[in-house]
Symmetry: C2
Subunit: 383 residues, 2 copies
C-alpha cells in the first residue's frame, strides 16, 4: 500500500540531496573537528561545520559566531532559557504563553520550581498573543519573553516584529522558537530584535539530531552541559559533523516550496469545509497560518478513531500535538484557544510538505468523508 504522509513526520523526510552531502562524512571525511589544530583532516571537518554555520547565519541575518549547533529544538530551547536564567542577576520573571512547545513550557516550569515568576499571556480563539496583555505583564524583574514563531499544532504565526519592538523598548531578552517557520518564511534577527532563536534540521528535510541556537552577540548566557570547549564554549561534545553538514545543505536548498505548499493547504481546508459538515478549523486562515499546517476538529468523533481508520488506508496524520498524543491530557494549545474536551479530542493535524501532491490530498479527503460518516453513525458523542 502506498503511504500518504500527512503527519508531523511529513517534514522529517530527509531530502536525497541532503543525504548525499552527509554520506562522505560517515566513512571518508570522519575526522573530529576539534582536531583543527592537529592535522589537515581535522581542518576539513572544521571547514564543513563552519560552512554550514555560515549558511544558517546568513539565512537569518546573523553572523557565524552567533550560531551554535545543538542536538535539536529541545536542547536549543533549554540552553536559551536555562542558560540566561542564571546569568542575569535580579531578573527572575518570564513571560510566555500556554501555546508553546513542550520544551519551552517544561523548562519554564522548572524555573518556576526554582522561584521564578511566570506570566502566561492569553491568546485569542485563533491562537494570537494579546500584545497589550504582554506589554502590561512586563516588570522590572522581567528577564525574557519566550514565544514560538508559529504554533506547531494549529499553525498560528505570531507577530514577532511587534513583540520584538516591545522587548527592545523595555530592554528585555526575546527568545523565539522558529522550528516551524525557519526557511518557510524570512527571519531577520536584527530587524525583529531577537536575542535567541531556536532552529531545527529535521523539520526542513534535514537530519534528526541537528539543531542550532542563534545567540545575539553580548548576551549573558551559560552552558547547560559541561565538558569541552566546543561551539564557542557553549555546547561541549564532539561535533556531529554529518548532521551539521546535512542541516546546512537543507537550509541551502530550501526556500521555494512554501507557496506551492500553502496552495495545497488551502485546497485541503476548502474541500473539507465544503464537503464535511460539523467541523471547526483550528487556527487562522490565510497568510498568518503556517504554510504546511491544517488542523481540524470533527464534532461528535474521537481523533484517535479517525487516525486509526486513516492509517488503515495508508494515510498518516496526527492528533493534536505529537507530544501529547500519548496521554489523555488535553493539549494546552487547544485549551488556550477555548476548545472544549470534545473539540480538542476530535482534532486532527495534517502536516504538508514539498512532497505532498494534489492526488494525495484528494485521496485523503475522499477517505475522510467516508470515515467521518461511519464514525458519526456509531458515535456515542451525540448527533
Amino acid at each position: 500500500m502506498r503511504l500518504v504522509y500527512l503527519d508531523n513526520a511529513a517534514s522529517t523526510r530527509v531530502d536525497e540531496r541532503v543525504t548525499e552531502e552527509m554520506i562522505p562524512y560517515f566513512n571518508d571525511k570522519y575526522a573530529v573537528a576539534t582536531s583543527v589544530f592537529s592535522y589537515r583532516m581535522g581542518l576539513e571537518s572544521k571547514k564543513a561545520i563552519d560552512s554550514a554555520r555560515k549558511i544558517i547565519a546568513e539565512k537569518i541575518n546573523a553572523s557565524s559566531d552567533e550560531i551554535i549547533f545543538t542536538s535539536g529544538e529541545t536542547e536549543s530551547n533549554n540552553i536559551a532559557i536555562l542558560g540566561t536564567s542564571g546569568k542575569n542577576k535580579g531578573k527572575s520573571h518570564i513571560i510566555t504563553t500556554k501555546t508553546e512547545h513542550l520544551s519551552v513550557l517544561k523548562t519554564i516550569e522548572k524555573l518556576k520550581e526554582g522561584g521564578f515568576l511566570v506570566s502566561y499571556v492569553p491568546v485569542d480563539k485563533e491562537g494570537f498573543i494579546d500584545c497589550n496583555a504582554l506589554k502590561k505583564s512586563i516588570k522590572k524583574e522581567t528577564l525574557m519573553v519566550a514565544i514560538c514563531h508559529a504554533n506547531e499544532e494549529i499553525g498560528t504565526i505570531q507577530n514577532i516584529e511587534k513583540i520584538g519592538k516591545i522587548c527592545r523598548e523595555k530592554k528585555i531578552l526575546f527568545h523565539v522558537d522558529a522550528t516551524q517557520t525557519f526557511t518557510k518564511m524570512p527571519i531577520d534577527v536584527e530587524k525583529l530584535n531577537i536575542t535567541t532563536l531556536t532552529l531545527s534540521g529535521h523539520t526542513i528535510h534535514g537530519p534528526k539530531g541537528a539543531g542550532a541556537l542563534f545567540i545575539k552577540k553580548g548576551t549573558k548566557i551559560d552552558k547547560i552541559m559541561h565538558g569541552g570547549f566546543n561551539e564557542y564554549d557553549l555546547r561541549p561534545g564532539t561535533e556531529n559533523v554529518p548532521a551539521i553538514v546535512g542541516f546546512g545543505e537543507a537550509v541551502r536548498i530550501s526556500g521555494k516550496d512554501c507557496k506551492k505548499v500553502s496552495v495545497l493547504r488551502d485546497y485541503l481546508i476548502e474541500r473539507i469545509t465544503n464537503e464535511i459538515p460539523d467541523i471547526k478549523i483550528n487556527g487562522p486562515l490565510g497568510k498568518d497560518r503556517l504554510c504546511n499546517n491544517v488542523n481540524i476538529s470533527f464534532h461528535h468523533v474521537e481523533g484517535e478513531s479517525i487516525l486509526l481508520r486513516l492509517d488503515m488506508k495508508g494515510i498518516c496524520v496526527s492528533t493534536g500535538s505529537a507530544c501529547f498524543s500519548r496521554s489523555l491530557e488535553m493539549s494546552p494549545t487547544m485549551k488556550a484557544i477555548g476548545n472544549n474536551h470534545e473539540l480538542s479530542h476530535g482534532s486532527i493535524r495534517f502536516t504538508l510538505s514539498k512532497y505532498t501532491t494534489k492526488e494525495e490530498i484528494d485521496y485523503t479527503v475522499e477517505s475522510l468523508k467516508k470515515i467521518i460518516k461511519e464514525l458519526r453513525k456509531i458515535s456515542p458523542l451525540g448527533k
Copy 2:
C-alpha cells in the same frame, strides 16, 4: 597522498555496514518514533529504536528499560552526575580522579561551585587509581564514585570490579564512563555493581551524535533538559532514529577486533622502544592497557612539531588529549601521572582501529625515526 589515521578520529570512521543500516531511516522510514500511538510507520521507527536498545542492553547485561539514548558521551556524563546530584538529599560529596574525561571533570567542578565537596583520588605513575585512598575518602555524605573505565589519553584500564565492590559495600552510586572500552572488553553492569554507565557510538565505528546511558533500575535521577516524555521521561527531544539504528548496528557487529588491534599496538610500542632513544611510554603495558591506545613522550622535542611533520607525511596523530590540544595548559592526566612539562608536551597519542594495518605502523615508525632525529638536532630543549 594516502592518509594514515592514527589519531582519535581513527575510531570514528563509520563502518560501511552501519551507514547502510542508517540510510533507509533518512529518506524512507523517516517517521517520528513518538508517533507510535498514531500509525504504523511510527511504530516501525519505535521498533528500530527498541531493537538498538536491546542490542546495547544485552551487551552489558542490562535490561532495555535501563538504557536511554543521548547525543553522546558528554551528555550521558552530564545526566549521570547532574541528574543524581539533586535527587539524593544529604548526599553532597563526590569521589573522582584528575584523569577523567573533561565532561566528568567540568560537570563535577560545576557541582563544586554549588557547594559539593569533591575528593580527587590520586593515581600512580601508570594512571591506576589508589583503591585504598578511594576507600578512605568515603564519607556518609558520599553520593557517588565517578571514574573512567579506561583513560582516553594513556589507555589505563581501571579495576572497576574492585571499585564496584567498595561502592556496593558502602552503598554509594558508581558512575563509569565506558566510552573507550565499550565493545572492546566485556562489561557486566550487574557483576561490576555499576549504577550509571556512559556509552558512545562514534568511538566504535558508529555514528557521531549517538550516545547512551545505562541507569540501574531504582536509581533516583532527574532529567537535565526539559520537554517531551521521550526515553522513559529522562531525555526529551525527537529521537535521532538513524543515529540510534547505526549505534545498535555498530554494537551488533563489534567484538572480534580487539585482539588483532592489541597485537599491532604492542608491535608499534616495541618498534618505537627499540628504534628511538630517549622516550617514555605513558600508561601501562599489556592487558591493562586499552587495546587501541599508544601514548609516548619523546624527550627534547615538542609534540606539536612531531604532529605537524607527521601530517606532512599524511599521518594523523594527536598530542596528549584532543580536548586540551588547543590550549598550552598541561593535560590533567599527564600531570596526575607525574609527567613534567617537557614530557607532557612531547607526548604523542596514537589511536589504532580495526582498519589499521601493519604497513601503516611500519610507515609511521620509519617516518617518526627521521622526524625525531631532525627535530632533536634543532631542538632548544637540550640533548
